[in-house]
Amino acid sequence: MEVALKQQKRRASYWSAAWGRFKKNKMAVVGLIYIIIIIIVSIFTPWIAPYPYDEPHYAHTFEKPSAKFWWGTDDLGRCMFSRNLYAMRNALLIGFGSQIVVLIIGVIIGSIAGFRGGRVDTILMRITDIMYAFPTFLFNVILVTVMGRGLFTILVAVGVTGWAGMARLVRGMVMYLKHADFVEAARALGSKEGYIIRKYILPNMLGPIIVSLAFGIPNGIWIESGLALIGMGVRPPMPSWGNMIGAGIGYIMAFPHMVIFPVLTFALTLLAFTYVGDGLRDALNPRSEV
């Protein structure tokens, strides 16, 4: 129903309006709080974790949760709680890091295709199509093989295999924004292309890009766990959820705590990101207000 919009003196920017919509989604807010907490925890992990992630206690192997080891210990008697914290930190690094790579490649390719159009666009989009058809998992494996293992290379690999969606998104946005009325207006005012991009196109692309990134992060974490399961994850003794779950599942009959805690934290984190992604999508999509 159209209702005359009230004339408010309050300054309500696009972003604060979006935040207002986001706040209404309870699950998303809970997810966001969880993510903020784990990000803070991850930053301070070395100080928070009760033990170093690689410190074994051979007298305490496979211990059930206790006051000394809150989430029990693993096969080398290492503190599961500490290892989970480090795994979380690595997961976040890979999640965010891979999306930075996605952002860089996707935005560059997408905007070149969108702005240039014509043959450049056709070629770049053909490359993007090929990326789409490339079996992501195998491609990841090959890339990790080529570049070697380690946190950084894995996040690069995850990013390198995942930018196609971003490129398409950015291209579509650029194509649309290029001929949007307000950009035409800016052009009619005689602004330079650079100015238009900076002041008109970029701010308007931000919303959908943020949503895409929000869904990309859990995806990156998920891919890393898959790689870790076949032993292509980060270097041990550095823990990652993938290899903790992979190792723990073998011990499930006798020592279920070795799999329950990593699975729980893993699932909660992915859930949180997904809910936040949902919330952002609804908040940044003006159509959602029905």
């Binding site: 690689d54 096969d75 032993g231 292509m232 994850g233 020592f255």
Partner: protein
Amino acid sequence: MLSKKVLIVLLVLVSIFLLSGIVNGQKERVVSLPYWDTPGLIPYYWQAQHILAQGTIFEGLFGYAPDPKGLGGVKVVPVIAQSYKVSKDYKVWTFKLRKDKKWSNGDPVTAKDFEWSFKYYASPKIPDLPAWAGPHQFIENFWAVKSGAMDLDKLGVKALDDYTLEIRLATPRYDMKEWLCVAQGVPIHRKSVEADPQNWWRPGKIVVNGPYVPVSWTPGKDMVLVKNPNYVGERGNVDRIVLKFGGLGLQQYQAGELDAAMIGNVAEYRFVLSDPKLSKEFHEDVMDCFWNGYQWSRGFDPIMDNIKLRQALAMAIDREKLCKEVLGGRALPLNKYWPDGNPIGDKMKGIPFDVKKAQKLLEEAGYPGGKGLKTLVFYITGGGDPVVEFIVDQWKKNLGINVIIENVESGLYWNSYVWPNFSPDAKAGFTVIGAPMNNLEIGALMKNSDHTVWFYDFPTSARKRRHELYQEYDAWLRKEGGLTEADWKTLIEKRNTLYAGFKRIVDNEPEKLWREELTRPPLWYEQFDELYEKWKAAKTNEEKTNYWRLAGRVLTDQEGFQLWYNNLSSQSKQAYRWRYKTINRPFSDAVKIAHYALQPMQDRYYMVPVYLAKAQWVKNPKLEGLMLYKFSWGPGFFNFKYLNLKD
């Protein structure tokens, strides 16, 4: 309507099936066992995994029978062979065959089957035969035949009559009986192979001479074996064996789907012990043919030349603690290549666990307290490895040395880091190594420890050069040239230098066996000269280039040999001489002197033993005759012909 009909038909079928069982009055005896997937059923492609081929679906002249006191828990017994004779120089073996053995289609098993099969394996038609794993490599002219240079007829295998087989060898072998137990020692059925060379091995089609016939094989899932009705000889009462690949072994056992299951980790071990029923069905045995430990990298970092460093590291590992706490009692500490209580192990000196001494050695090595040492890399595969993490932790704690663990995918790991002679990409560091006996041959008594002598124990610079020579040797195959005398000039000069070096080696080598080996005709320089002559007579350019290439290869090979010989440390040379002496002896004698070869190898600290694994399993109490496979590639069961299911 339709479904009702189908249902009725099904019901009828099922009841007929059930009734027939009752009417027959006997239940089929089925045993389900865990197994690992195989690359196929063709016996000659099987490397050390001769488990199925030998004794279960195929049989050779000799085979294994259970012997709790024997090495590997087995003894070698004649299977198709009835008796044998061997020439004095151990080069000509003549076997008399049993006359009652039959193929599964009823054809008799004859010496001709052996002759034809061995020639078939040796032919260039099978280019990727893992020849190192079988007895054929010792047969006269095998390599010439394999390369296509010589006719199949020249291979030293001959059926003198239907039940007599003569095998002539290129070099003396005292352990030919043992070698004939492996997968490549079995014959295959000529008629069916020739009828369908591509698919003869498929279940349902394959003709075998062992106690069981494969009736189905689904890679990734299972293989089903049924009794061979035409089999003559001793075997158990099991009618059908289902080998299941993968899955959760223990859970399958608990669900009653397997009659035995290997225990894979400490958690399962503790779980089984805590379970009143499972703990009664629990068994274990020590895998004494297999030591586990680590080896130094196969790269070219000179830091690895420092023996004191190697020694310090080897002495700084608390093996007791590892076995007790990390491996949870699923292994025994091991500080030498053979354990105590074994005729070889008893005579060997172990590597002590002595942190003080290790620290002192490290200081002497130039890295007091681990300072100044670059970061070493421990390559592993497949996620985490608690043993490696323990060792790395020990080095950190006891010596202050920082080692990072690098995880690589299994193919790269085994192919480029663990087994190849050299891997230029490998950084200074380690891989784990499980050094097995592949079978009961004499060389295997060394348990791969001889790699230390062959590849490592000469300076990095020489090692690098050796690697280059390998590549050069390879490159000669594709070199262009050799059409003019000028091309030969450098070769001839090189030949003469190498000849002088060779002369020196032969004159000074004290070990007679080794000298004999080196001077067995045709000698390398004779080959070279002959190639040169042939070149002169050659008509086409193609021929000329070919002779020139071959001559180049001969020289490169010799250069490589001399490089190696001249750079070996005296201890390694000593070990090598003892190795010669050992393998030039029958098995029983070899065991007595193997330690002379092994001790110096072990003292190079390149391949360091850490523990001896135990095999642990649960099994159906009614099942008997299960044989543990103790040779290469870890614990499993094999040789199913003795399986018995009690009622």
